[in-house]
Structure formats: C-alpha cells, structure tokens
C-alpha cells in the first residue's frame, strides 16, 4: 500500500471515505509541495467577471514555472492529437495545415507555449503538421513535447525506437526536444513496459540524451496498470522525472475506478506526484469533450451556477486550479474551442472550495448514467473490419446526453427518442461501419487507453439499436 493510501485509511475514522477524499482534493491547494508556483502565476482579482464571449485578452495567460528547468510554461497547453482535417484532392482526409497554422499562431499570440504531440497522433501526421506550424515561429518562443510511442512490437527494438525518436526531431524541425515522454506506460502492464523501455536499453539512452541536452525534460504519460506508475515513481531518485503526464478531471478525480476497475482515480495519481514534488501535465481534462457535451440537466446545473461560463470551462478550471499542475493539455480542433479555453486561462480564476464541492456533486450526478468512457482518441482505429468504433460509442453517449435512450415503449417520448437514436446512428456512422459488424476479435481492446471493453460496448449498442429497430423494448 502506498503512502497516500495509508494516509487516507489512517484518517478515515468518523468520516465517510468519499467526503474525506473530497476534502483532500479541495485542500490540495493548501499543501502544495514546493509552493514556488504561485509566485510565478499571474494572480488576478477573483471578483472579476469572466468574459464568456467576445475578445480574448492578450498577455493575460496564467503561467506556471517548471521546477526543474525554470521554464515559464503556459497553463494552457496545446494538445496536437486532434488537428482539423479536410478532404484532400484524392478524396481522403488530410490535415488542414492552413487551419493548423492559424490555430498555432493564435495560440502563441495569446501566450500558449507548450505543444504536445506524438508520432502516433493523427495517423502519424501530427508531428509533421505541428512542426510546419511551429517552425514559422522562433524556436525559443515555444516548448515541444513529444513521445516515444513504440506501442507496436515491431518497434520495440533499440534501433527502431531510436529511429522513431530521431524522426520526431526531423518532423518537428528541431535538434532538441523540450519535453520527452515515455508514452502510455501502464498499457500492457509491466511486461510491455520492460519490453518497450528497459530490456532494449531505451530508457538509458533517453537519460543520456537528457544529460547531453537534446532532451530538456524527461517524463512519462500514464494509462492503465498502476503498477508501472508506482514502479517508475518508486525509482524517482534514479530517473529524476522532470514531469509526469496524467489524466485528471472532475469525473476521474474519484470515479475513474468506478468507470473501469483497471483505471486509477486522479486523486491518487496527483496526490502521489504532489507528494514527490513532481509537476503534473494534465491530459484529458475534458475527457475528449465528454465534459463539454453533457446531459441537459448537467448543462443547466453548470450554467445555473454561472451563466457566463461555458460548460467546458469548469473542467479546465478544475484541472488548472491544482497548483502542482504544470500545464493542462487541450486538443483544440477549432478556433472556437481555442478561444473559449483562452478566456478560461487568461487568466485562470481558481475554483473555490465551494466550486470544487459543486463539481464533485456534479460528477456524482453524471455517474448515475455513466457514458461510455470513450475520449475519441482513435487509438483503437483502424478496426480491421471497418467499424467506426469511436463513432458508435460517441453516438451512444450523445443519445445519453440528449436523453434519447428510452428503456420502455411506454416512455412518453419513446417514438421521438427512437427516431433520434436510429436516424442519428445512421447519420453518425454509415451502416456498413456500425456495431453489428464487430466480430469480437478484440484487437482494439489492447489499444484503448481507457481500458474500455470495446467489443462488449459495441455489442451493447448494437443490441439496443436492434431492439429499437424491431420495436421490441419492453412494453
């Protein structure tokens, strides 16, 4: 049992575990390990009204100071996993480079200086597109984060992995990487971790690269088996991690395990990093948009508390309010999302204890009708049999949000909901790519960072759609 868990269990007496955990979360601001951060943050008058629409302020970005290199990092980091695409001349989807350039320019103009990519993103085209957009700006004006995404067994060899690293430098048009990550440790457990980074000597190579300055910060991103996370942190003295990337948001704060027993609650991950004084880079602050596209009653709840703030801004403020957070990554595909996030972080208005309690209660409400925890990262794709896996799962979530999942034909809005579900299904996913084509080969399962049992979820959606089509829901 780790230290923090011990702490928790020691102090549980009298109070419910959950309430205690909440307090811990709320109190996290109070006991920041190094405490050096806040000085670097541009604090602002908390009474200031947020601007939900209109101009985005310039020069107001909240910054965080990197404890190991002193980098002044913007609290909003750009996740380069969801670059916009357009249909190319050959009819295939290509990255809309012009739009990427405009997004990057706008982000940099407003103080964003952390760009997170990977050789695996956007079907391998993210680094090149990011490199093109960034190289139009002075190299010292931004930080590049990329990863060693040697997921496929054929890239586990030392040579292959190093080639991947060198190719990243080439694609990103640079001779050094500011933030280098071991990608998705925990996926495949200790065995996969050892095969990817230890047995082939790759971690030693990366440590050497850091010594020589070609890697300025070394860290890892974590999904899945917590044993690997714990193992790497237990060896912190040896590896001296500059930062660690974790999934954190108000739903996963204490519901991650509930959603999937394989996952780890963010409160544990963050607490552990904080206790070691390691700064956290936050991924999935918005759960791939799931915390922006929420059920109607949740929208009303959030809007009711502050009509001027967007639904998404609550999630970003939650992530950014933790003082041990270096930067919060958001994969902003369109200008509107970028602008909304800039408004949230220029500057950040930290959540109050009351706000946090409000969000924890919101998370509880959301867990009453849990969505499929798909964040549309598309790691599962392409499905060899042509199924649009995220398309199917996100459609189900959308219907859940729109309250279009009737459980009985007696439901007063049964026929309307039925139509919405079926019309929307064909609209979201063409019929030959729908869930009924899943043969259950389970190739996708190992790739899902959220540990979703994809074939089971597809079968669930398919069975439900089939019941709607046949009108065979209980009467």
């Amino acid at each position: 049992m780790s230290d923090i868990q011990k702490n928790i269990s020691d102090k549980q007496s009298g109070e419910s575990r959950r309430r205690f955990l909440r307090k811990l979360g709320v109190g996290a601001w109070g006991f920041s390990g190094a405490g050096a951060l806040l000085g670097a943050c541009k604090r602002m008058d908390e009474k200031k009204e947020p601007a939900a629409e209109g101009a985005v302020p310039t020069g107001m970005m909240t910054m965080r100071r990197n404890r190991s290199t002193g980098d002044n990092v913007s609290l909003l980091g750009y996740g380069c996993m969801r670059w916009p695409t357009k249909t190319g001349n050959d009819g295939k989807d290509v990255i809309d480079q012009e739009m990427v350039n405009r997004l990057v320019d706008k982000a940099i103009e407003h103080g964003v200086n952390y760009f997170d990519t990977s050789p695996a993103y956007c079907q391998g085209r993210s680094e090149a597109a990011t490199g093109i957009a960034l190289s139009r700006h002075p190299r010292e004006s931004y930080y590049i984060a990329t990863k060693l995404s040697n997921f496929a067994p054929q890239t586990w060899g030392f040579k292959e992995s190093v080639n991947m690293y060198r190719n990243s430098l080439k694609e990103l048009k640079t001779d050094y990487i500011d933030y280098m990550l071991l990608h998705g440790i925990g996926m495949g457990g200790m065995d996969a971790f050892r095969a990817r980074y230890i047995d082939n000597g790759l971690l030693d190579f990366l440590l050497k690269e850091r010594e020589q300055g070609r890697i300025r910060n070394l860290g890892f991103s974590y999904h899945g088996d917590v044993e690997v996370f714990d193992h790497l942190l237990a060896n912190h003295e040896k590896y001296r991690w500059d930062f660690v990337q974790i999934q954190l948001n108000y739903l996963d704060w204490e519901h991650a395990k509930e959603t999937n027993p394989r996952n780890t609650d963010a409160i544990y991950l963050y607490g552990k990093l904080d206790s070691l004084g390691i700064q956290a880079v936050i991924m999935e602050p918005l759960l791939g948009g799931r915390l922006a596209k929420v059920p109607e009653h949740i929208v009303s709840r959030l809007k009711g508390r502050d009509p001027l703030r967007s639904v998404a801004s609550w999630a970003f403020r939650f992530a950014g309010s933790h003082p041990g957070v270096l930067t919060v990554l958001s994969g902003m595909t369109c200008m509107e999302h970028l602008e909304d996030n800039l408004r949230t972080y220029c500057p950040l208005v930290p959540l109050t204890d009351d706000d946090n309690r409000f969000l924890y209660d919101t998370a509880d409400l959301m867990m009453q009708h849990p969505a499929i925890p798909c964040n549309d990262c598309k790691y599962c794709m392409p499905c060899p049999w042509g199924i649009d896996i995220p398309g199917v799962l996100l459609h189900y979530n959308k219907m859940l949000n729109e309250d279009n999942i009737p459980q009985s034909r007696q439901d007063p809005k049964y026929s309307k909901a039925r139509r919405a579900f079926l019309v929307g299904y064909n609209r979201a996913v063409e019929p030959v790519r729908q869930a009924d084509h899943c043969i259950g080969c389970r190739i996708c399962v190992q790739h899902c960072p959220q540990g979703i049992d994809i074939p089971a979820e597809l079968a669930r959606v398919d069975n439900y759609a089939e019941k709607l089509r046949r009108g065979s829901l209980p009467g």
Partner: protein, 495 residues
C-alpha cells in the same frame, strides 16, 4: 365545372402517385398506397376483383375517366399538352378529328397479352402505363428528390434535428435509366405533338377501357340543335375524337376530360345520358376489328384465369472493399413473392417496392427473364424482420402482403456457407457474427479442426429454420465475397 373537378382530382392523384415513388420513408405508401392498387393492370394481375369491377363499372357509367384522373401516365400527357398549349392559340387549336386506328390498337393489345402470357412480362410492361410512369419517377426523379431531401437532412444534422435524414438512392442499373429516359422521350413527344395519341394507339389499358367506354351510360353529347359547326371543340380535343361535321364523338377514344364542354361557346355539348340524346346509332360497324378486339379481351381473361390456377398452388474506416453479390443458383425474391414463377408473371416492374424498401436491398434485376423486376441483394443491408413494406405496397399481387409474424417465418431462401472464405477457417480468427445476428437462430457454431490442428468454431446452418433474410450475409466480415450467402428458393414456404 366538370372539367375543373376533373383537373382537381387528376392533379391530386398525380401528385400523390408521384410521391409514392419518391417518398422513401414509407409515409406516402402507407397513406396513399391505394392509388397504386386501383391502377388497372396491377389490379388485373393481382386479380383484384373489386377494383376491376369498380373500374369496369365506372367506365361503363362515366366513360374513360380513369384515363383522365387515375392513370399517372395519362395525366402526365395532359401536363405536357398543357405546356404545349401555352405557346398560343395555334398550338391550342392544333387538333382535328382522326379515325380510331383500331387495327393498330388491337394488334398492340394482342402482342401485349401474348407477351404477358409467354413470360415476357418485362417487354410488355414497357408500355404498361402505370409501371412505365413508376420507372420514370423512381429512376429519373428520385435522385433529384433525394438531393433536395439531403439538403434538408444536412441542415437538420447541423441543427441537431432528427426530422430529416439523408437518403442516397443506390446506383441503378444503367439499363433502367435508358428505359426510363426512352419512355419519357417517347411519351413526351407523342403528347407534345398529338395530345392523347399514345393512349389511343399504344396503351393496352386505353384500348380495353375504350372498348368499354363505347357503351358508357354518360358521355359528352353534341346537341345538334345548338351546334353551329364552328369546329372549336374538335380543334381543341386532345384525344382527336370529335367529328364535328357529323356531330359525332368516338367514345372509344374520348377520355372524358370535359374540355369540349367548357370550350363550346354555344353550350352545345353536354355530359349526359346518350340514349336521351338519341345518338346511340353507331356508324362504327361491328366488323373484323371488333371481333379481333373481343378475342384479345378473351385472351386477357384467359391469362388471368391461368394466374388464378397458380395462386391456389402456392405453398407459402479501414478501407472497406465493397461487397460483391454471390453467384446464386436462384434469385432471392422478397417475402410474399410466392414463387419465382408467380412473381415473374405478376410483377410489372413499377419499382414501387424498390422505393419503399427501407434498407434498399431491392434492386431491379438484370436477368433477362426478370428484367427490371426487383430482387434482393444483401451487400449493404438485409431484409429486416420487422418490415413488411414491399408486400404492403405491391399493387400487382406480385408480392403478397404478409404480417410481421408470417414474414419472419416465410423462407425466401437459405444460407449457404463457403468454408474457405470463413474467417475461422481461412484466418483462424474467432468470429460467429452470423450466428449472433441470425434473427431466427438458425445458425449455431460448431467445432471444426483446421488443417493445422487448431480447433475453431464455424457456422452450421439449420436450413429448416433459415428464412433467407440475409442478416448473416450482410454482417459477414469476409470481403468482397461474404463467406455465408443466401440462395433463393424456387417456391417460398413457411417454416
């Protein structure tokens, strides 16, 4: 007044029948499907006695109002003629009386009947008015309708509404386009030049009804006392049936459009009992042509009797390679088609079921014996267990209406397994998708030893339970050829 009533009714029928062939949601067919069922030839083929009796009595009572109101091809010609008349007075007054080309009419009718009886129904149906119209709309106008619909659907999708959804008519047989375009060109041209010339020379239904309407109780009659012989009625008669000099109307050609009644400036034409007007003396001799006419009629009746005999005998984002249809021994016909023979002899290839099919699995056939008549293909969908639309809409009795329960126990074919394409055998993968999706549970997974000694599970089809719906073929992951496909039954049966 009568003319206006005729125009209003005709416009209504015309629009609604056109909608039957355009509306893919099934709404129009559910509400106005009867308009297809009261069409003469389909009702005749379906042996729909009530409708036939109604049509015969109506014609005997009122004349060929069917041709002016109910028949979509007839109304379409009126529309074309009206367009021509907009050119001016000369165009409007371009007609003159012409004698009925009885020999041609009867000859066409005989050839038509022979083709129907000899299993060349597709050839005959080329001139069958209702199905010819259906093919034109379904082939030429439906894509336009889809296009407009898709504009709404995209708008709806953008605003999060589920009222409209996209519909893309699947690629058609080029032959269908050729046939439809040719039909349109010919009918348009004859109407542009000669008004109802098509109806009074080629149309087999027009010929049959023309025979009846000669004895109709009510008809437009020229009052010789009032007529001044100005010829206006004759010059504007699109059926070219008024011999104004003789004060006679050829009732075999008159479609009871009532135009002449409105056009006559002297009120000399009345829609009334012919006997009272004392004008039933007929100059048309009961000659050879009449006898021929009667014999043709007898043949048609004979063909119908043959059908009756049949009826009593019936028993019942990786890249996806497009699937290609398997080589079936026999075609798969929609449930309710009874048998290949029954279906082939009844279907007029009007394409109404093709429009109505929600999964778009019905496509016009390319086989010569069933040219343009629908058959099921399962590449992009299958015959849904809860759907009975094709049988509900078929006006010709080619596809009988079935209840959902009966439909899901009607065997239209049976699944055939191709071992060397099946994933467990070919790739050693676990699959079983066909078994999971079989709506009647006719497929079970049984152990099978691969040559390499591995034990896999492969589908085993219980052909006694299989209904041939094609769910297995549709969800089979093997591409382009499904490892399990449906072969049609010669005769459909209950399982």
């Amino acid at each position: 007044m009568l003319r206006k009533i005729r125009i209003a009714l005709a416009a209504l029928c015309f629009v609604l029948i056109t909608l039957l062939f355009l509306d893919f949601t099934g709404w129009a067919q559910a509400h106005f499907g009867f308009l297809a069922k009261i069409q003469f030839l389909p009702a005749f083929l379906a042996l729909n006695v009530l409708v036939l009796l109604g049509l015969v009595l109506t014609t005997l009572l009122l004349g060929r109002v069917y041709c002016s109101v109910v028949c979509p091809l007839g109304v379409m010609q009126d529309v074309v003629n009206r367009l021509r008349c907009m050119a001016g007075k000369r165009a409007r007054n371009r007609f003159s009386f012409s004698r009925s080309k009885t020999i041609v009419r009867c000859a066409v009718l005989v050839v038509f009947a022979v083709c129907m009886a000899a299993g060349l129904g597709w050839l005959a149906s080329l001139i069958a008015p209702y199905s010819a119209y259906g093919r034109m709309v379904q082939t030429l106008a439906a894509p336009v309708y889809d296009w407009v619909n898709n504009i709404f659907a995209d708008r709806a999708a953008a605003t999060g509404s589920y009222v409209f959804y996209r519909h893309d008519t699947v690629t058609r047989l080029p032959l269908m386009i050729v046939v439809a375009a040719a039909t349109f060109a010919v009918v348009f041209a004859t109407a542009w030049i000669g008004g109802r010339a098509w109806c009074n020379t080629v149309c087999p239904v027009g010929t049959v009804l023309g025979f009846l309407s000669r004895y109709s109780f009510l008809a437009p009659v020229i009052d010789t006392d009032k007529c001044v012989g100005c010829s206006l009625c004759a010059r504007r008669c699109k059926a070219s049936c008024i011999d104004y000099k003789a004060h006679r109307i050829d009732y075999s050609k008159c479609v009871a459009c009532m135009d002449c009644i409105d056009n006559c400036t002297h009120n000399a034409i009345k829609y009334t009992k012919r006997r009272s007007a004392g004008l039933h003396k007929r100059a048309v001799a009961t000659d050879k042509s009449r006898r021929r006419f009667l014999s043709a009629g007898a043949m048609l009746v004979g063909a119908a009797a043959m059908k009756a005999a049949d009826k009593t005998a019936d028993g019942g984002l990786a890249k996806l390679e497009n699937k290609i249809p398997p080589k079936r021994t026999r075609p798969v016909l929609p449930p309710g088609a009874v048998s290949i023979e029954h279906f082939t002899t009844h279907c007029t290839a009007c394409q109404l079921c093709v429009t109505a099919c929600p999964t778009q699995i019905l496509r016009p056939s390319t086989s010569l014996s069933r040219l343009m008549k629908p058959e099921s293909v399962y590449e992009n969908g299958y015959c849904r267990p809860e759907c009975t639309r094709c049988g509900d809409v078929c006006p010709a009795g080619a596809i009988h209406p079935l209840t959902v329960e009966r439909k899901s126990s009607t065997q239209i074919g049976h699944a055939v397994w191709t071992a060397n394409l099946c994933f467990p055998v070919a790739k050693g993968l676990r699959c079983g998708n066909c078994a999971r999706h079989c709506p009647v549970g006719a497929i079970s997974m049984v152990p099978y030893n691969r040559p390499d000694g591995r034990l896999v599970y492969v589908p085993a089809v219980d052909t006694e339970r299989c209904i041939g719906c094609g769910a297995c073929e549709y969800v089979c992951p093997s591409r382009p050829q499904s490892a399990i496909y449906v072969d049609g039954n010669e005769v459909q049966r209950m399982v």
